[in-house]
Amino acid sequence: MAETTHAEARASDHPTVGHVVPFRVLATVWLALLALTVVTVEVAGVDIGNFNLGVAMAIATVKATLVLLYFMHMRYDRPMNAIVFVAALLFVALFVSIALLDTRAYKPDLIPGYAPGITR
C-alpha cells in the first residue's frame, strides 16, 4: 500500500485501507464541474461549425476525468482499477468508430428534406 495510507493509519481516526480525499480537493472539483457545465451551455450557444460537437465532448471528457480521478479515487487507487475501466472505454471507442466507418458511404437524402430509406 502507498506510503500515505500507513502515515494516515497512525493517526487515530483514519482508516487503515483506502485513501481519504481532502475536503478542499472535493469542493474544488465540485466547483470546477459546475463551472464547466456553465461553460458547455454557453459554448453551445456560439456557432463554431463542426467544432461545437468536438468542444462539447472535450468539456464532457474533462468533467468525466475529474469525477473519475477525485470523486472515484482513481488517482489514489491501484492502477488495475483504471486499466479495467479504460479498457471498457477503448472497446466502446472501437465499437463506435467501426460502426461509423461507412455512414458517409450512404446518401442521406436523395431528395432534400426526405429520407426515403426509412419512410417506407
Binding site: V17, W30, L34, V92
Partner: protein, 270 residues
C-alpha cells in the same frame, strides 16, 4: 500480502474480515476491483446506446438538429448541476465514512438521495411535457409540428417513373439528372420554406431509450443509497469498515458520468 501490520489490522476490523482474505487491505482492494469490473460492463451497456446515437446522428443530422429544440435546455442544465451536487455529497459521504463521522455520513447520504429524487422530479416534468405533446418514439409520435407558412412549391418532386408500382427515385435516363438531388442544394427544412424533417420520432426513440436507461440507474442508485443510509444509521460504518459506502459511491458517480455525456449530446446539439 501479509505485511507486518496484517495481524493487528485484521483484529481491529472487528470481524469484518472474511476468512478467505489475508488482510483487510486485500479484502478492500478485491471489493473495489470487482466494482470497477461491474462499472466496465455498465460502460459497455451504455456504449451500445451511444453507438446507436452516433450512427443515427451521422446519417441524419437534420433530425437531431431539429428535434433537440423540443428539449428544455434549462431543465437539462439544472439536472446536470443537481447530479454534480449529488456526486459531491456522495464523495463527501465516503470521506465521512472513512473518518468515522457517523452523523455527517447519514446526513450526506440523505442529501444525495434527496438530490437524486430532485433529478427524477425534473425528469418527470420533462417526460410529461413530451408525453402531452406527442413527442414520442416510433408510431406513438403524433406531435403537431410547425408547418411552412405557404404551401411549398415542391420543385424537387420525385419524378414519376414509367411503372408506378416500381417507384424508383432515380429519374429515367432520358430526363437526365433532373430527378436527382442537386449537389449543394439546401434541404427544405433548412431554407425556412419547408416543414420539419421527416422521421423525427427517431430522435425521441434515442432520447427516451438513453435517458430512460439512465433514469433506471438513478432509481437503482437511490435504492442502494437508502440501504447504505439504513446501515449507516445503525452505525455499521467507520474507519475500520466502509467498503459498502465506497462501492455504492462508485456506482453513483458512474450514473453522474453517463449524464455528463448525455446532456451535451441530447440537449446542446448545434
Amino acid at each position: 500480502m501479509t505485511n507486518s501490520k496484517g495481524e493487528s489490522v485484521a483484529e481491529a476490523h472487528g470481524g469484518h474480515l472474511a476468512h478467505h482474505f489475508d488482510t483487510a487491505e486485500q479484502q478492500f482492494e478485491s471489493g473495489k476491483l470487482g466494482m470497477w469490473i461491474f462499472l466496465a460492463t455498465e460502460i459497455l451497456l451504455f456504449g451500445g446506446l451511444f453507438c446507436a446515437y452516433a450512427v443515427y446522428r451521422s446519417s441524419h443530422p437534420e433530425i437531431f438538429l431539429y428535434a433537440h429544440r423540443y428539449l428544455d435546455k434549462t431543465l437539462g442544465a439544472i439536472n446536470t448541476a443537481v447530479l454534480i451536487c449529488s456526486s459531491f455529497t456522495m464523495a463527501w459521504a465516503v470521506r465521512c465514512a472513512q473518518l468515522g463521522r457517523r452523523k455527517a455520513l447519514v446526513r450526506l447520504l440523505a442529501a444525495t438521495i434527496a438530490l437524486a429524487g430532485c433529478f427524477l422530479g425534473i425528469k418527470y416534468v420533462e417526460y410529461e411535457h413530451k408525453w402531452k405533446e406527442g413527442l414520442l418514439w416510433g408510431k406513438r409520435f403524433h406531435a403537431k409540428l410547425e408547418q411552412p407558412a405557404a404551401p411549398v412549391v415542391a420543385s424537387p418532386v420525385p419524378t414519376p417513373s414509367v411503372n408506378p408500382e416500381e417507384r424508383s427515385l432515380i429519374a429515367p435516363a432520358a430526363e437526365g439528372p433532373k430527378g436527382l438531388a442537386k449537389p449543394g442544394q439546401r434541404p427544405l427544412w433548412e431554407t425556412g420554406t419547408g416543414g420539419p424533417p421527416k422521421n423525427l420520432q427517431t430522435f425521441f426513440a434515442v432520447y427516451f431509450t438513453m435517458t430512460g436507461l439512465h433514469g433506471i440507474h438513478v432509481i437503482a442508485g437511490m435504492v442502494l443509497l437508502t440501504l447504505m443510509l439504513l446501515r449507516a444509521r445503525r452505525g455499521e460504518f467507520g474507519p475500520a469498515y466502509f467498503t459498502p459506502v465506497d462501492l455504492a459511491g462508485l456506482y453513483w458517480h458512474l450514473v453522474d458520468l453517463v449524464w455528463i455525456y448525455l446532456f451535451p449530446l441530447l440537449y446542446l446539439i448545434r
